[in-house]
Symmetry: C2
Amino acid sequence: MAEKKSWVLMVTAQTPTNIAVIKYWGKRDESLILPINDSISVTLDPSHLCTTTTVAVSPGFTHDRMWLNGKEISLSGGRYQNCLREIRSRASDVEDEKKGIKIAKKDWENLHLHIASYNNFPTAAGLASSAAGFACLVYSLAKLMNVKEDNSQLSAIARQGSGSACRSLYGGFVKWIMGKDDNGSDSIAVQLVDEKHWDELVILIAVVSSRQKETSSTSGMRETVETSPLVLHRAKEVVPKRVVEMEEAIKSRNFPAFARLTCSDSNQFHAVCLDTSPPIFYMNDTSHRIISCVEKWNRSEGTPQVAYTFDAGPNAVLIARNRKVAALLLQRLLFHFPPQSDADLNSYIVGDKSVLMDAGIQDLKDVEALPPPPEIKDNVPTQKFKGDVSYFICTRPGRGPVLLTEESQALLNPETGLPK
Amino acid sequence: MAEKKSWVLMVTAQTPTNIAVIKYWGKRDESLILPINDSISVTLDPSHLCTTTTVAVSPGFTHDRMWLNGKEISLSGGRYQNCLREIRSRASDVEDEKKGIKIAKKDWENLHLHIASYNNFPTAAGLASSAAGFACLVYSLAKLMNVKEDNSQLSAIARQGSGSACRSLYGGFVKWIMGKDDNGSDSIAVQLVDEKHWDELVILIAVVSSRQKETSSTSGMRETVETSPLVLHRAKEVVPKRVVEMEEAIKSRNFPAFARLTCSDSNQFHAVCLDTSPPIFYMNDTSHRIISCVEKWNRSEGTPQVAYTFDAGPNAVLIARNRKVAALLLQRLLFHFPPQSDADLNSYIVGDKSVLMDAGIQDLKDVEALPPPPEIKDNVPTQKFKGDVSYFICTRPGRGPVLLTEESQALLNPETGLPK
């Protein structure tokens, strides 16, 4: 089905994923994806977790097509259609002098697109792949079609693909303002600080094995809004204050306040899930054990060393106040959650391996030799939970979307516009 | 240390435990144990879960002493002292003509007590042993000392030993009215309906194995009140409406409404525990699986068959609408949570064994032969969790406190006043 004809114009972009530290849970408008409260996230380093998307246009394309991780998927869903329609409506004249291509603003309505998208992390791991995915789709299409809007305005489009996607249009710490307008035009993301502002932070993600099928966040948050007697109190009375405090904590790099707010808000999000009818459980015993381990350590240090937050799944996202703390955290996590005996340490800890070196761990023997953390009381038997964590990702706060200009990084063939 | 001198006067009573269907969580006065909301409970059949207490008085006793499950324990704690003081201050003249004993009202201040208490269920299993225990202590002392107050007035004394104890002064369904007075005099239990009102109900308790040390409910609820931004909204806005609806559901034996309220309120109690800082987890993966099993079945039947509720621990209390449903429920529970291969079925299902017979299960082979419940979709692999439940107790709503008049049922020796 090679559709070579005249020319193919392409753009490739890379967009990070993000993790909310003040949670988004609940929509006031299902189709526009307008939330019931502001949320705040930290963008994760795209070297370890990102989506790469190539979008291409050609007069030879007969219809819009998309490939996700190499497999063709349907674009007929409302969320894709909303993003494509909104971006097309903002397209401008495009000229590529080198290739001799000229596309007038009005032509875009009749031109078809090919889209190829790839996550550098397992899609199934519950790591907000749709956030990075829709952000990257909108960002790359905006560049291809010479859309003049800035990233905040683009965020309102990405939001219509997946709510949390709007926060992936920026690096560092990002606030999604819920907005007031019925049409959603003021429900946008803004950057609070860039990724250099608080670059001491280290982020460890524990990808937790799960046997349960999880409730999708779309249906989960709808059921919460419909049935939880607590969620509106959270959205109206609790979150607005926390957002103010969180902005202040981030701007002043006040880690104790940041950790307190992050942990409390994660727990409250899971509390309203539990208050849903029927109840939604995203955390499991392993998630609870990781929380207990962090809480115990924080208490013993007198001031928080690590913040934890959990999205709509059992994976723990742990934010260490600095590199030294991250190494001590990794020691604790590996003590409680060692890899299976036949595991390869190199695939058990992925991402920024330097944290592993700082922790003085080179092989499985070093893991086995880890002493119990000193904060564990002598009268409590130390427990180990081999196999309960699938793997760890070491990362940090990262940058926003970027264009990848090298043709070798494109996911579509520049001649055919089909996946490489 | 036998303290035989002149005479010993004894009373023995038996008091049930109870399980809240609208939860008590949070005090407005720590020392008087005054709650932040009303609660409603069902009293459990004392044949399966109860405390028996013998209280004795003798001029030969040199100080107040107590034995719990055969082991001497200290009475110096404030909760015991409050109950003893309040009961003593209400004592009246007592005369036992047969034994030729006369105790004047004023003598009680100078007489010492021996108390022996015994739970017919494992104290460590997290089955509200303190509720039955304090209720039985207060009830038996009131009988011994000829206290004229009725059970509601006694409930205000038992409440000062353990909040939920006040609800064990009655059988059937019981409401603990939070009250308004600062001195707690109107924070009392009243019976809504007796145990015969809704005698179709069958109660199955899954005693869940737990490796975690649990937060005590005393410190847990204090931390929730101090740190949860949701708990006061629950107490002030949510519970009052639920109490009205629950009373109506109980009085009209409206099982669907009863089940909806019971499940929602249990989940909301655990939600505010999770909203506590640091978070409190009482339910574990096994608790979650039991909830999922019940929710799935209820949904497939179109109307609730079973209600679930969890106290400050992982044990599930399941209330089936009738005996037939209880048998079907037990089949489902045994399918998912079979006993260990070397287990004795007779000690895996305790209490009212007739439910086991109704379920058509006579031995372990019958358990192994159980088919997957029809509501489980074919595309979901059926999972079994052998060993995750320690045992099941089959019981039903039961009566309130009673006196045991046969001397053979006393826990103290009528001559020495010491444990038999």
